[in-house]
Amino acid sequence: MKKFNNLLKKEIKELVTAQLIISLVFTLLLFNFMGSITKGEIEKGIKLRDVYVLNLDDSSLSKEVLNNLSFAGFKVNLMNNLVEEKNKEKAIDYAKNNDINFLLVIPDGFGQSISKFSPMEIEVYSIIRSFSIGSTVNSEMVNQVVNALNRYISNNFLKEKIPNIDPEELKNPIRSKEYVIVRDKMAEGSSAEVTNFVQMQSIFIPIILMIVIMYSSQMVLSAIAVEKQDKTLETLLTVPISRRQIVVAKMLGAGIVGLISALIYMFGYRSFMSGITGGVEINSTDLIQKLGLQFTPYGYTLLGVSLFLAILCALALSTILGVLAEDLKGAQSMSLPMVLLVMIPYFLSMFSDINSLSLPIKIIVMAIPFTHPFVASQNVLLRNYNVILYGIIYMLIVFLILIFIAARIFSTDRVLTMKLSFGRRKSSTEGKKVGL
C-alpha cells in the first residue's frame, strides 16, 4: 500500500501542473465573466420598459390608450415635450442621439379612425445598436406594446357594446384544463411546466458527465503517453510494484484530478448558466410533487453509481488507448474515439429520446457504456430503476473486461512494443506475460 500511495501521489503531482491550474482558473474566470456580462445584458433588456411615444394625435382616445400602457407595465415618455415640434424625423433623430431604443409614433387621426372601427397603423421604430441578447429582448417589446394597445382598445369596444360580459371571456370562450400523467400518477398542470422542471433539474448531469469523462480520459492518456515519450515508463516498470498497481494508480490519479477539475469547471459553468437564466431557480411545485418527479436518495445513489462506473469505463479504455499512443501527440489523436463515444450519447440524450430510436440503432447506442448515465438521470425521475440497474450491470461487465485487457497489456511486452502510429504501419509483437 505504501508503494501504491507513493505512486498515486506522484501521478497526481504530475497531473496537477501549473498549466492545468492556470487553465482551470482562466476557465473559471472566463465563465464567471461571460455569465455576469450575459446577466447584465438580460437585466438591461428586462429593465428597458421605457416607451418613448410621439403622439401626433390629440384625441382623448390616444391619451387614454397611452395612459393604459402604464398599467400594462410600461413607462410612457412623451416625446412631445422633448422635441421642439411634433415632427417624426426630429423625434427619430432625438431617439438616435439619446440612447433611446424604442419609439412609438401615433399618427394624426388615430382616435377618430379607431372610433370608426377602421384599422389604423401605428409606427414602431426599433433602434438597433448591437445584436446582443438585450436587443432581442427589446424587439420582443414591440409585440408586447402593440398587443397591450390592441387588447385595451378591443376590450373597450366590447364593454361598450356588450356591457354585461367580460370581454376576455368573450374573446376566449374555450379554456383548457390540463392534466399530466406520469406512469401511474396524474395531476392538474401543464406538460410544459413538467418538462421545463425536469430539464432544468437534469441539464447539468450530462454536462458534468461529459466533462469528467473527457478530462479524466485525456489525463490518463497523457499520463501514459508522457511516460513513453519521456522514457520513464521502462524504469517505472522495473521497480518493485505490481503492474496492476501501476495501472490502478494511473487511473485513480487521473480520476481524482479529472473529477476535481470537472467540479471547478462545472462551478464556472453554473455561474455562466445562472447568468443566462437570470439566476432563476425553478423550485419543485405541487405538480412536480404530486407526480413524484423528485430525486429520491435511492435514485441519487443509482445515478452516482452509474456516473462512477462510466468514469471507470472511460479510464480503463483510455489506459488501453494510452498504451497504443507513442507520444503526447499520439495521445491526442487517440482521444478522438473517446470523444465520439461520449458525444454520441450526449447529443442524443440532449436532443432526442433514445427510447424512440429504431431497434438496431438503439442497440448500438446502448452498447456504448457512456449512454447509460446519460439516460439514467431522467429514468431516476421516472422511477425506471430497473433500466438503471441493467445499465449499471452492463457497465460493470464492460469495466471488468476493459481493466482485464489493460492489466494484461501492462503485464506483457505489449506495454512497450504495442503502438499505433497514424500514417504508419501498425506494429505489435507477441505478448507473453511478464508477471504482475
Binding site: E234, T235, L237, T429, E430
Partner: protein, 240 residues
C-alpha cells in the same frame, strides 16, 4: 560457483523474427559482466528481459537461483535497471525524484533517507538537486539516473550504456564509482559501445551478434585469443 545470474538458452521472438537465438552466460557475485556487440545484436533485448521488461520466449533466466518468469517481483526488488535512453520526470525536482524512487525499495522509512543521501553523493549534483529535472542538462540527468540505479545497493545493477551523454571527466568518475560498488558486493551487467569503458570496468566480456553469444572471456583472454591489441580489434575480428 556463486552465480547471481544464469541465462540459459534464452530465445526471444518478435513475431516471426528471432531476436535472441539461445543466449547463454552467467554473472558471478561481485562481477562486472559486459555485453558488447553491434547495433541490433540483441544486447538491449537481453538486458530488458533480465530487467523483467520483456518476456522470455524460450529458455530460462535464473536470478539468485529463482526463475525470473515465475518470480518477477523478487527480481525487481533486488535489481536496478538503467535503460540506454532513460528519462526522469521533468516536473519533479531531482531530490523528489530520488525520494520517489527510494520509496519503492525502502523496507524501513529510514532507508529512504539513507538511499537519498547516498544518491546525493553519487550524483554530486549538490544544490542542483533542488531544481526541476526539466532544466537539467543531458549529463546531469544521466548522473541522476545512475545515482538512482546505485543508491539502493542492488544485488545486480543492469546498466545499458551507463555513461552515454556524459563528458570524459564525468564518465571517468562514473566508471570509478561502479567499480567501488562492485567491491561492496553489487554485481553489474552492462552494455556499452565504448570499448575503453568495457576494458576498464568489466571482469568478463561477452561478444554478441545476431542474437548469439560468440565469445566470452576476460579482456586479456579475448585479446590473446585473437592476437589483438585491444577489445576494439577483438570486436572487429569476431563480428567480421
Amino acid at each position: 560457483m556463486d552465480f547471481i545470474l544464469q541465462v540459459e538458452n534464452l530465445k526471444k521472438y518478435y513475431g516471426k523474427f528471432e531476436a535472441l537465438k539461445g543466449v547463454n552466460f552467467e554473472v558471478k557475485k561481485g562481477e562486472v559482466f559486459a555485453l558488447i556487440g553491434p547495433n541490433g545484436a540483441g544486447k538491449s533485448t537481453t538486458l530488458r528481459i533480465i530487467a523483467t521488461l520483456l518476456s522470455v520466449s524460450e529458455g530460462r533466466v535464473l536470478f539468485m537461483g529463482k526463475d525470473l518468469s515465475k518470480y518477477p517481483d523478487f527480481v525487481r526488488e533486488n535489481i536496478s535497471y538503467l535503460p540506454e535512453e532513460a528519462g526522469a520526470y521533468k516536473n519533479m525536482k531531482g531530490i523528489d525524484y530520488l525520494r520517489f524512487m527510494a520509496n519503492f525499495y525502502a523496507v524501513d522509512p529510514k532507508d529512504v533517507d539513507i538511499f537519498v543521501k547516498r544518491a546525493e553523493e553519487i550524483s554530486e549534483l549538490g544544490d542542483r538537486l533542488n531544481d526541476k529535472i526539466g532544466i537539467y542538462s543531458k549529463g546531469m540527468v544521466r548522473k541522476l539516473l545512475i545515482a538512482r540505479a546505485l543508491m539502493t545497493k542492488p544485488i545486480l545493477a543492469i546498466l545499458d550504456e551507463p555513461t552515454s551523454g556524459l563528458d570524459v571527466i564525468n564518465a571517468l568518475e562514473i566508471r570509478e564509482l561502479v567499480r567501488e560498488y562492485v567491491k561492496e558486493g553489487t554485481s553489474v551487467l552492462l552494455s556499452s559501445h565504448n570499448m575503453l569503458e568495457i576494458e576498464f570496468l568489466s571482469d568478463r566480456v561477452a561478444l554478441i551478434d545476431k542474437g548469439k553469444i560468440l565469445e566470452i572471456g576476460t579482456s586479456e583472454e579475448l585479446k590473446d585469443k585473437y592476437s589483438a591489441k585491444n577489445l576494439e580489434e577483438v570486436f572487429r575480428r569476431v563480428v567480421q
